[in-house]
Amino acid sequence: MIRKIIASYSRVPLLGWLLGALAAVALERLAGAPIANFLGLQKIPVLFGLSDMIKSPVRIPNVIGYLLIVYAIPAAVVPRICISPANGIAALLLRYPMAISAAVHLGLLYAILHVWSGISDYRVLVLRLTLIAVMLTLSLNVVNGYMGEFSCSHPGFMALGAYCASVLTIGLFGDPEFFGVASLPEPLGPFLFPAVLILGGLLASVGALFVAVPSFRTRGDYLAIISLAFLFIVKSLIENLEFVHGSRGLSDQPDWAGLPTVFIWTILCIWSINNFVRSTIGKALNAVRDNEMAADAMTVDTRRTKMAAFLFAAFWAGIAGGLFAHVMRYVNPGNFGIQNLAEVLAMVYFGGLNSVYGSIVGAVSISLLGEALRPLEIFKWIIIPLLLILVMIFRPTGLIAFRDLDVANLLKPKRQPGGEA
């Protein structure tokens, strides 16, 4: 019986699931507070109730009740009843260029995130930081997963992007004393922000050259060491530059990294990286990883492949850094040290190597878990490492490794049971 029910869900297209999620968050927005009160909770559980369950375990049944009523039931019921219309719409959309269908789905996704986070500022913050984590994780996965290397320099790239973007926005739009130049007009700001971020990304790519050129000439574990040295160098460089206030950090970046902005950049990141790794040029990374000599013999320009991937990954880490600086509106060198390295490595290896899905899952899981476990304070840093060790022992390449993200497949209507169109 249960199997039949589960099997019937295989006919739900992505559109159906999105509609279900939208129904759930809409319900929460409209009736969340009264439902929470009815269930004996003082207010809406802010992050899926995980922290509430930890803070007062006696309320666990209440929280679970809330999760069931507000999230689980709409998310389960709506897709099921909408199977036919959803499949119909999905098929209809695909009659136009795929970009249209993708845009509709993305719009829905954004709507879900927007409505969900409308309840509290804290949610908006967590959501933005999680999206940034996705970008970081995915870009590191390109090097550590697809290319099979072990790079420790991502926090350094992030730092370069963060500081470059911050210096530009503060200098040009914030503090007139910074560059000694009068500020540019305010309204121009948000339009120049993408350019500023891109410059940060490019600076990160330039930094990547300093790591790539020495390491790629030799075989061995040198990338690990050289990238680590790079990390220390960048951190120390920033600490010593009075221009960027050294260890005290830079603050009061303009508030331009709102949810829509971060969302769009995250989607661009996922899209471009996914395009890259699915192309033959991108798959060359796997060939270089699995056997470089054979790749050479099969006409693959291994040097160009490694360089391009590494610089591209650094670029996105730089963009993520720039966004991070403008979400937190404060950066200091301490943000980009060994702790950051451990976090981002954890997200990559937890989620799964060589997989876009894996990076998204890893980033979201670890970020949300990290936030939810805050009440436990330092024990958070025992639980999360333990969790990762367990995953490493039982699934050494991560939860969802080596899985392709096929956008066309994702957007298709699912007519036949078993998920075929």
């Binding site: 290397e149 690990a224 060491i225 010593n240 451990a342 490493m392």
Partner: protein, 307 residues
């Protein structure tokens, strides 16, 4: 000139810590092709165990249970802590690395990193955030040698470190376990076929490496009596770089590289403002690795931390 010699003495001391820690990294890497990222935290654990042992011994001595001069307490602290910490290393290997023996090495490296974090957090949870002071076991005596001030502590640290490195060298070259370890460094697949118990040898390697790190921890505690749970991060990662510089499988190489790193940091701080220390020291190392990636001794690292 005096200034230079003074710094030389400091550099020798500073380098001793790096050398002892680097040796542990180097040994594990030689046989398992694996960087044990928990090693720096084992240094920290060793220091704390040393704190515990010495405090206990001092208490026992002061209660009159045993009569022990301070120098004896020191020696016993070092020996006993090395012994206890070696168990920590063996446990780490058994719990985190052995299950991953056949997994991609990157996964094992990440596991090590996580173990390190657990050790730090565990320490923080147990001992709280306050800093611990290592008990003073030696009265500081300063000798003035031609204008250069050398404390007895500094001499002891350097001497003990060199002795330990020498002992390790003899162990690896002369004993049958040492020979087994060297054999494993060449080809770990074949060694069990020769009747050598692989698991036991690997455990031994971790034990020895951890013991050395513990010694470094205690010596550090003597020189700089304030301990904190994150002290391993500071030294661990840098000693890791030294291990690579030293070349694979070479005791001499790791030792020399550790001292070189110490020298570089101290002399850079001598010439430039101290905040630039890391920046310049690591840039120098980056340059060295660019032009001589094989390190100084031992064989070049020839495999990748790959899937």
């Amino acid at each position: 000139m005096v200034y230079f010699l003074q710094n030389l003495v400091n550099a020798l001391q500073w380098g001793s810590f790096y050398a002892l820690i680097a040796l542990g990294y180097s040994m594990v890497y030689s046989i398992l092709m694996l960087f044990n990222f928990a090693h720096g935290d084992i240094f920290m654990v060793g220091a704390y165990i040393g704190f515990g042992v010495s405090t206990a011994l001092i208490a026992l001595a002061s209660m009159g249970v045993v009569a022990m001069p301070n120098w004896l307490i020191l020696v016993m602290t070092i020996l006993f802590s090395m012994f206890l910490t070696s168990f920590v290393g063996v446990i780490v290997e058994r719990v985190a690395y052995r299950p991953l023996r056949n997994a991609p090495r990157a996964s094992a490296a990440i596991t090590g990193l996580m173990i390190g974090i657990i050790l730090e957090t565990g320490n923080l949870a147990l001992m709280g955030a306050r800093r611990i002071s290592f008990p003073s076991l030696i009265a500081t005596a300063t000798y003035d040698i031609g204008g250069v001030f050398v404390t007895n502590k500094k001499i002891m640290i350097v001497v003990v470190s060199l002795l330990l490195a020498l002992a390790l060298h003899q162990f690896v070259r002369r004993t049958k376990w040492g020979m087994a370890i060297r054999a494993m460094a060449f080809d770990s697949a074949v060694v069990p076929l020769m009747g050598v118990p692989l698991n036991r040898m690997i455990a031994l390697t971790f034990a020895v490496g951890s013991a050395l790190a513990a010694a470094a921890g205690i010596l550090f505690g003597i020189a700089y009596p304030v301990l904190d749970p994150y002290m391993g991060i500071l030294f661990g990662w840098k000693a890791f770089v030294a291990a690579i510089l030293g070349g694979r499988g070479s005791v001499m190489g790791a030792t020399l590289a550790g001292f070189l790193l110490g020298f570089t940091e101290i002399f850079v701080a001598m010439i430039f403002p101290s905040t630039l220390r890391d920046l310049i020291a690591y840039s120098i190392i980056l340059l060295i690795l660019t032009f001589r990636p094989h390190g100084f001794f031992g064989e070049p690292y020839s495999a990748r931390l790959r899937l």
